[in-house]
Amino acid sequence: MIDILLYALVAGLLVATVCGPLGALVTWQRMAYYGDTLAHSALLGLALGLALQANLQYSVLVTCLLIAGLLFALQWWRNIALDSLLGILSHSSLALGLVCLSFIDNQRLDLNAFLFGDLLAIIREDLINLALICTLVLGLLWRYWPALVALCAHAELAEIEGLPVKRLKLLLMLMVAATVAVAMKIVGVLLITAMLIIPASAAARVARSPEQAALIAALVGALAVCGGLAGAWYWDTPAGPSIVLGAGCLFVLGQLAPGYRRSS
């Protein structure tokens, strides 16, 4: 029994650690909608995986990465407004995923678990995959952090100063895709973006530098995971929503703290 809780805790903390710095970048680059689109298309990946009888985690991961690459290419080649495109893609892919899933007759599939997460159903194998992806994303974040921050602050200046802005943008999109794919198990398709956005937004108020923001966001995420899990354990609330609710509460508390900026 304690195994379940331990696995859930480790998985949750891993995702929170990645979502801190990555979420900060996502909010600075205003990519929240993009995260939603990827999350919703993860459901499509799930349907695909079931239809092809492939490993579900990997089929979701590959689908998310493909969609991210596709969006990047579309944005670059056609130069269309990403916002409206995302709005259309986001909900169409969610709908398509749900429709496809309804065709696949599968008793072992619990749709709720994918929509809202099923942290307490994490098994050893999931955890290993999760740890692999999280380590990879964290490593990339560590390596490219200064460049990514410069990109978020002013992309044109970064480009003039010699940073490969196009590639950095692609990297950021792919990292979000990978994180969304692995975090699906934790908080579910509908709530993944919250794990990116809420801790980062809470951190933005008190942080004094981009690095502090990333660190505080990771901390807020970790606290939310602990709180959510405690809720799930003691009061039998659904784990994913409880975690997001915990993050939301921390955000509200953060607004009461004295801010870095004098005006906002």
């Binding site: 909010t27 978020c152 602050a153 002013h154 003039i160 100063e161 933005a204 530098s209 981009p210 502090q212």
Partner: protein, 251 residues
């Protein structure tokens, strides 16, 4: 050094959804030259700068930048996400300078006291100086300024232009800038380019200021009444600066 231009554009054109943004632009900028681009709103001034810098791609034409050209770019304004905590010093550090360089740049633009302040908390004029400081960090051969005095009050504008002028003398760099300040343009500029999608006229300020196309674009802005000028080019400009065409070279 050699005599080849720092930057040159040949027959550059750019369209966006059937609308011509830049039409057959050719220009050449030499070392230590000051070139100012003037033109009405929507004339493509910022677009031209971005194309020249390689930030946007032209549809046709060629752009040459001298090998190893160090560019200091000051964008029109800083649009920083309100959720991004960033101090002035951290913003400058993104250009990967040495610490002393940051100190020197901030001192030169007169904002050393802002070093640790959040970028969100400083005024428009101070923000422009921060952007100028960052442009200085690369020890540029070419300073590219896109409406540097935007959002700066009148007295601040004069100071800023004086500062830019002094910096150019110190650095010995060329300057390519977009400016609405006709006083500065006339007094300090070597070459003026009057842009309205295409280059209406160009040359030395005195020469340009008597050019019919220039008068058509800017004549009415001057306090002194410039007599309404009828000119016999293939097009005219109306009061908003839009080109009034006999033939359709814009659609």
């Amino acid at each position: 050094m050699n005599d080849s231009p720092l930057l040159s554009l040949h027959n550059v054109s750019l369209k966006h959804q059937q609308q011509s943004l830049l039409n057959d632009i050719s220009l050449s900028l030499n070392a230590k030259q000051i070139m100012t681009i003037i033109g009405p709103n929507g004339a493509g001034k910022s677009t031209l700068i971005k194309v020249a810098l390689g930030l946007s791609k032209a549809d046709s034409g060629s752009i040459y930048r001298r090998q190893g050209l160090r560019i200091g770019y000051m964008p029109q304004k800083l649009t920083l996400n309100p959720l991004m905590p960033l101090s002035v010093a951290r913003f400058l550090a993104m250009a990967k300078p040495k610490r002393q360089q940051i100190d020197a740049a901030l001192a030169r633009t007169g904002i050393s006291h802002l070093r640790h302040r959040p970028l969100h908390d400083i005024s428009g004029g101070e923000t422009q100086r921060v952007l100028l400081s960052r442009a200085l960090l690369s020890r540029p051969d070419l300073l590219v300024l896109d409406e540097p005095a935007q959002g700066v009050d009148i007295s601040g504008q004069t100071e800023l232009y004086e500062l830019i002028n002094a910096l150019r003398d110190e650095l010995g760099c060329a300057v390519l800038m977009v400016s609405h300040d006709l006083h500065w343009v006339m007094a300090q500029t070597d070459t003026v380019i009057c842009l309205n999608q295409h280059i209406c006229c160009h040359g030395h300020p005195e020469q340009v200021s008597s050019d019919p196309e220039y008068l058509a674009l800017f004549g009415r802005r001057h306090a002194e009444a410039v007599a309404l000028y009828q000119h016999d080019h293939d097009h005219q400009h109306d009061i908003h600066g839009d080109v009034v065409c006999e033939h359709h070279h814009h659609d």
